[in-house]
C-alpha cells in the first residue's frame, strides 16, 4: 500500500501542499482532482523523491521512503509518468522505451519481454519504433510516455495529467488503456482535470484545493457530489 501521512511541502516560504493524507490500496485507481497549481504535481514529485516534504511521511508497504533518492524509489516499483509528454526528443520511439527499462538494464531478456508487452498494448508504437519521438502526434507521444513508465515494471504508477491537450476521442482511448494497465495488476494514482473521464474508471478520489484536500470519497460519491460537479464537471 502507498500511504501519505500528513504530508506538507514548502517552496521557500510558500506552502504548496499542506497536511495531505492519501491512500492507494493495491489494485486501485485513485484520482487526484484539482485545478492547475492545486498541488497535484508537487504531491507526485514528493512521492517520486524529486522534492522532499517538509513534514509528514510517505509509506510504501510500511516503509517510510521520504529522503530516498529517486532512482531507489523507481527500483522499489513506484514510477512516475510525468506531465506534458516529457520524452527524449533526440531519441527514437524504441530508444525512449528502452530508457524506461533502465532499472532492469542487467536483465536484457526481461526488458525485451516488457518491450513486446508495451508494443502489444500500443501497436502503433511498434510501427513507428524507429521514428524520432518528437515527430509523433500528441496522443502517440503520450503512449510513448506511458509505455516508457511501464517498461520499469511499476507496482504503483503515478500518471500526471495524461489527457492534457488531447482530442476527446483520444482521451477516451487513453483512459481505456489506463484501465487495461490497472487490470494487469498495476495500482494507479492519477492526477487529472478531466474529472468526468477519470472518475469513470477510478475507485476513489481526492479533490485538491490550494494544496489541501477539500473533498474525498469513492468515485460514485464524487460524481454525485454537488460541489465537485459544479467545479469540475460543469453540470
Amino acid at each position: 500500500m502507498l500511504k501519505l501521512n500528513n504530508v506538507s511541502v514548502n517552496y521557500g516560504a510558500f506552502t504548496a501542499v499542506k497536511n495531505v493524507d492519501i491512500e492507494v490500496h493495491p489494485g486501485e485507481i485513485v484520482v487526484l482532482l484539482g485545478s492547475n497549481g492545486a498541488g497535484k504535481s508537487t504531491t507526485f514529485n514528493s512521492i517520486s523523491g524529486l522534492n522532499k516534504p517538509s513534514s509528514g511521511e510517505i509509506l510504501y508497504d510500511e516503509q517510510n521512503i521520504v529522503g530516498f533518492p529517486p532512482d531507489q524509489i523507481v527500483n522499489l516499483g513506484i514510477i512516475q509518468c510525468a506531465e506534458g509528454r516529457n520524452l527524449f526528443p533526440g531519441m527514437t520511439v524504441q530508444e525512449n522505451l528502452m530508457m524506461g527499462g533502465y532499472v532492469h538494464r542487467k536483465n536484457k531478456i526481461h526488458v525485451k519481454e516488457r518491450l513486446e508487452e508495451v508494443y502489444e498494448m500500443f501497436p502503433i508504437l511498434k510501427e513507428k519504433h524507429n521514428e524520432s519521438a518528437g515527430s509523433l502526434s500528441g496522443g502517440q507521444q503520450q503512449m510513448v510516455a506511458i509505455g516508457r513508465a511501464l517498461m520499469g515494471d511499476p507496482q504503483y504508477m503515478l500518471l500526471d495529467e495524461p489527457s492534457i491537450g488531447l482530442a476527446p476521442l483520444i482521451v477516451e482511448q487513453m483512459f481505456a488503456k489506463i484501465k487495461q494497465i490497472n487490470d494487469g495488476g498495476t495500482s494507479i494514482l492519477l492526477a487529472e482535470q478531466n474529472a468526468n473521464a477519470a472518475l469513470k474508471i477510478a475507485d476513489r478520489g481526492y479533490v485538491f484545493e490550494n494544496g489541501q484536500i477539500a473533498v474525498q470519497g469513492t468515485a460514485e460519491e464524487l460524481l454525485t457530489n454537488e460541489e465537485v460537479r459544479k467545479a469540475y464537471i460543469g453540470a
Binding site: S48, D71, N75, Q80, A82, E95, M99, Y102
Partner: protein, 336 residues
C-alpha cells in the same frame, strides 16, 4: 540510408589513409608538428565534449586537468624517475582520481554555478602550478621531460614516430567515445542533458552518472596533457590557463557540441585558420570573435550539427513527398 552509411565509411577510411601516409609524402616538419599538436588538442576536446556536449555540464577546468596530466607525467618521469609507460599509466589514474574528488564537490552545483565553480578550480590549479616552484618549476616551466619510452622495437624519439603514437591515441579515443555514445551509458548521459528530473523519474542515478562523465572527461584531458608533455618536452604554467580552456571550448563549439565528429572538425578548422592568419598576430581574435557569434546564432550546434540537421530536414522532406505520392497512387487505384 545504407548508401549514406557506405559513403560515410568510405570518407572515413579515406581520411584515415590520408593522415597515415601524410608524413611519408611531406617533409615539412613544421606541418607535422602542428598536426601532432592538433591531434592532442582533439583528444582533450573529446573529453570536454563528453561532459559539456553529451551530459550538459560545462566545465571550465578542462585546461587545469590537461595541465595536471602534463605536470604529473613530468614529475613522475623526471623528479621521481619512473619508467615512462609506468608514469604514463599512473598519470591517467591520478588525473582521474583528482577528477573524481573535484567532481564530487563541483557536481553539487549546476548550470552557470557549475561553470563558475569549475572556472575557479581551473584557476586554482593554475595558481598552484605557477607558485609551487620547487615541484613545477613555477614560471620558468618544467624542462627535460623524456620522449615516450620504447615499446619493444618501437622507439618514439623522432617526430614521425611521435606523430603515429599520438595518432594512435587519437583514433583510440574516437573509437572509445563512439562506443560510449552509442551505449546505454551514452544515452544515460543524454537523458541527463535533456532533463535531469525526467532522468531521475525513470530510475537513473544522476549523481553517479554525472560523476562518471566528469571522471571520463578528466581522463581524456589527462591523456592529452601527458602526450603534450612528452611531445613538447617542455611545459609552462600557461597550459593550465583559462585561455586554454576557452580554446578547447571554441574548437568544440565551432565543430559541433554534442556531436561525434565535432571535436575533430572544429579543432582542425580553427588550428588551420589560425595558422593561415598568423601574420595578423593577436588581431586574429578580431576575425574569430565575429565568426563565433555568427555561428552561435545560425548554427548553435556547430558545423557538424548543422550538417546533421540539414540532412534530417532533407530526409523528412523526401519522406513527405513519398507519402504524398503514395496517397495519390491510392486515390488513383480507388478512382480506377
Amino acid at each position: 540510408m545504407s548508401r549514406l552509411l557506405l559513403n560515410k565509411r568510405f570518407a572515413l577510411s579515406g581520411l584515415l589513409l590520408l593522415v597515415l601516409v601524410l608524413p611519408l609524402i611531406t617533409s615539412n616538419a613544421y606541418m607535422i608538428r602542428i598536426l601532432i599538436l592538433t591531434f592532442i588538442w582533439t583528444i582533450a576536446v573529446y573529453g570536454l565534449n563528453l561532459l559539456a556536449g553529451y551530459t550538459g555540464y560545462l566545465s571550465l577546468a578542462h585546461a587545469g586537468f590537461f595541465a595536471l596530466g602534463a605536470y604529473t607525467l613530468a614529475i613522475l618521469t623526471v623528479t621521481v624517475g619512473l619508467s615512462y609507460w609506468l608514469a604514463f599509466i599512473l598519470t591517467l589514474v591520478f588525473t582521474s582520481i583528482v577528477g573524481a574528488l573535484i567532481g564530487m564537490i563541483a557536481l553539487r552545483t549546476r548550470e552557470h554555478f557549475f561553470a563558475i565553480y569549475t572556472l575557479c578550480v581551473g584557476y586554482i590549479i593554475y595558481l598552484i602550478i605557477y607558485n609551487w616552484e620547487g615541484m613545477t618549476g613555477g614560471v620558468r616551466g618544467f624542462i627535460g621531460i623524456p620522449s615516450p619510452g620504447s615499446i619493444g622495437p618501437l622507439e618514439f624519439n623522432s617526430q614521425i614516430s611521435n606523430y603515429y603514437l599520438v595518432l594512435f591515441f587519437l583514433v583510440l579515443t574516437i573509437v572509445v567515445i563512439y562506443r560510449i555514445v552509442h551505449s546505454l551509458q551514452g544515452r544515460t548521459f543524454m537523458a541527463i542533458r535533456n532533463s535531469e528530473d525526467l532522468a531521475k523519474t525513470i530510475g537513473i542515478s544522476t549523481t553517479k552518472n554525472k560523476l562518471i562523465a566528469f571522471i571520463l572527461s578528466t581522463f581524456f584531458a589527462g591523456l592529452a596533457g601527458a602526450l603534450f608533455a612528452s611531445f613538447t618536452r617542455f611545459i609552462g604554467p600557461e597550459i593550465s590557463n583559462i585561455t586554454m580552456t576557452f580554446d578547447f571550448l571554441v574548437y568544440l563549439l565551432i565543430g559541433g557540441i554534442g556531436t561525434l565528429s565535432g571535436p575533430v572538425i572544429g579543432t582542425f578548422i580553427i588550428v588551420w585558420i589560425s595558422q593561415e592568419l598568423q601574420f595578423l598576430q593577436d588581431y586574429r581574435m578580431l576575425v574569430f570573435g565575429p565568426i563565433l557569434v555568427i555561428l552561435i546564432i545560425f548554427a548553435p550546434r556547430g558545423i557538424s550539427g548543422f550538417i546533421i540537421d540539414w540532412n534530417l530536414k532533407r530526409k523528412a522532406k523526401k519522406q513527405q513527398i513519398e507519402s504524398m505520392k503514395d496517397m495519390e497512387n491510392n486515390q488513383e487505384v480507388k478512382e480506377g
